[in-house]
């Protein structure tokens, strides 16, 4: 394959010299050419013809100067958007896991929401642990949220002595691969008065000396709820976990905490991701966030059976990340920060923008499309983007 690629590169240079052309294909084209060369068993002459034909097709496919790429991108994403489901559907793809799909998800992505409705993570494992079920299950329980309620075999409120009696289930603890010592330590730390005796835990209600009996019962019940909901394992921000096996073990989570998960031992630091774009921006940087916007938007669209050229989505992602932070499309992001007052006023909140501009004494250079439409001038687009410049020196 490599020799073929070198050969094709050499042929291109040869053609460039001979025909006085300037062929500069992207790498993916060279690869496709190499594949065609091998598959069809082309002769050198045929290859030369193919390259020249490709060059013509490539030139035709180029975006013309002055083309309104942004508007085309907006329409290309917007039209399929009208065909998407309006409702959030549940239980798609992964069993039991609820993921926002369709239009709500697409809106979430372009709005660059900080808090997304259903953050999830896909956690992969490094090569040694990829097939180690025991390790995966232990880790899943360490990551996923468990409360005392999940490991109870019996739970009673003793109204006579005003105590909460909890009996833990050793089997459940073992099944969840939790550490008994750690659980005891957490209980002891949270409930200072707790008496731990093997499986049996007795926690006296705080106000045993109170004179209001009704109040005491309320206290006891509140304490009971607190005991049940005490978190004994899990990483902040992560709820339920689902363990799945396709070609290898994968953990899907409800909730997301990329930073802490990536720091854990045994995790694949290369493929583990989240669907929270802001989190990716913070942990992996703006370029990763850009790639993530593209991936998420494309997956959302293709899941609905819609195909939008990636180039449109790439343009959106480029604009959203060009300032170094993930910015939303719309009033609070890109559209709200246009340099032209008239363009901003024409979009949303007209009064606010005109008033502020007049207070600040803003100047509109009339370089954009909207401003020029408003005042009735030809717009700087397509043929309108060409102007005449006078050469004063030759007067």
């Amino acid at each position: 394959m490599d020799d073929v690629i070198t050969k094709i590169n050499d042929t291109i240079i040869e053609i460039n010299d001979a025909e006085n052309l300037n062929i500069d294909f992207p790498d993916s084209y060279i690869e496709d050419l190499a594949k065609a060369y091998i598959q069809k068993d082309l002769t050198d002459d045929e290859l030369r013809k193919l390259i020249i034909k490709l060059k013509n097709a490539y030139d035709r496919a180029h975006v013309e100067a002055g083309e309104a790429v942004g508007t085309v991108a907006a329409q290309s994403v917007g039209e399929p958007g009208t065909q998407m489901t309006m409702r959030t559907f549940h239980y798609a793809g992964v069993t039991e896991l609820n993921v926002t799909l369709g239009l709500p998800r697409l809106i979430e992505i372009v709005d660059a929401r900080k808090e997304i409705a259903t953050p999830t993570m896909d956690i992969y494992f490094d090569e040694e642990r990829r097939d180690d079920e025991e390790f995966v299950r232990t880790l899943a329980n360490k990551i996923g949220k468990s409360t005392i309620n999940d490991i109870l075999s019996d739970f009673n409120l003793n109204y006579g002595t005003m105590e909460v009696e909890a009996i833990l289930d050793s089997k459940k603890i073992e099944e969840k691969r939790l550490d008994r010592e750690e659980i005891n330590a957490i209980i002891g730390k949270t409930f200072k008065k707790a008496v731990i005796n093997n499986d049996e835990i007795v926690i006296p209600s705080g106000k045993t000396d109170s004179k209001e009996p009704k109040f005491e019962i309320r206290e006891l019940r509140l304490l009971a709820d607190k005991v049940r909901d005490l978190q004994i394992s899990g990483i902040k921000g992560i709820g339920k976990v689902i363990i799945r096996r396709d070609d290898e073990w994968i953990i899907h989570t409800e909730g997301s905490n990329l930073k802490e998960i990536l720091d854990m031992e045994g995790i694949d630091h290369v493929r583990t991701t989240t669907n929270n774009i802001h989190e990716i921006g913070e942990v992996l940087g703006i370029e990763a966030a850009r790639q993530s916007i593209i991936n998420e938007a494309q997956n959302t669209l293709s899941e609905q059976g819609l195909s939008v050229d990636v180039r449109h989505i790439m343009l959106v992602a480029d604009i959203m990340t060009s300032e170094g932070v993930v910015k939303s499309i719309g009033r609070h992001g890109i559209s709200g920060e246009k340099s032209s007052v008239l363009a901003r006023a024409a979009f949303e909140e007209t009064g606010k923008h005109l008033l502020r501009a007049s207070i600040r004494g803003e100047v509109d250079d009339l370089t954009g499309i909207i401003e020029n439409i408003i005042i009735g001038q030809p717009i700087p687009l397509g043929t309108g983007s060409v102007g005449v410049k006078m050469d004063y020196k030759n007067e």
């Binding site: 992207p26 790498d27 993916s28 084209y29 060279i30 690869e31 990536l262 720091d263 854990m264 031992e265 630091h269 290369v270 493929r271 991701t273 990716i280 913070e282 942990v283 992996l284 940087g285 703006i286 370029e287 990763a288 790639q291 993530s292 990636v310 180039r311 790439m314 480029d318 990340t321 060009s322 300032e323 170094g324 932070v325």
Partner: protein
């Protein structure tokens, strides 16, 4: 454990450009290289490679359409 975020599939290669490379790359363009897309100086990748404000980074992305695509970002103050 400290992990190298540059290994992650979502993170493309970031390289700091030397002055000569900058002069060479942006000599025949109609824009000022200071108007390039920005990257924050607190960006985790910027910290990892030790770039300073004002540096220009060459970012080599793997592109779905072009195979390999080279782009640039300037580190913001």
């Amino acid at each position: 454990m400290k992990i190298d975020i540059q290994d992650h599939i979502l993170v493309p290669t970031h390289e700091i450009m030397t002055e000569d490379e900058i002069a060479d790359e942006f000599s025949d363009v109609e824009y000022d290289f200071k108007d390039l897309p920005k990257i924050r100086s607190e960006d985790p990748v910027v910290k990892a490679i030790g770039a300073k404000p004002g540096d220009v980074l060459r970012i080599t992305r793997e592109s779905q359409t072009a195979g390999v695509f080279v782009t640039y970002r300037i580190v913001e103050d």
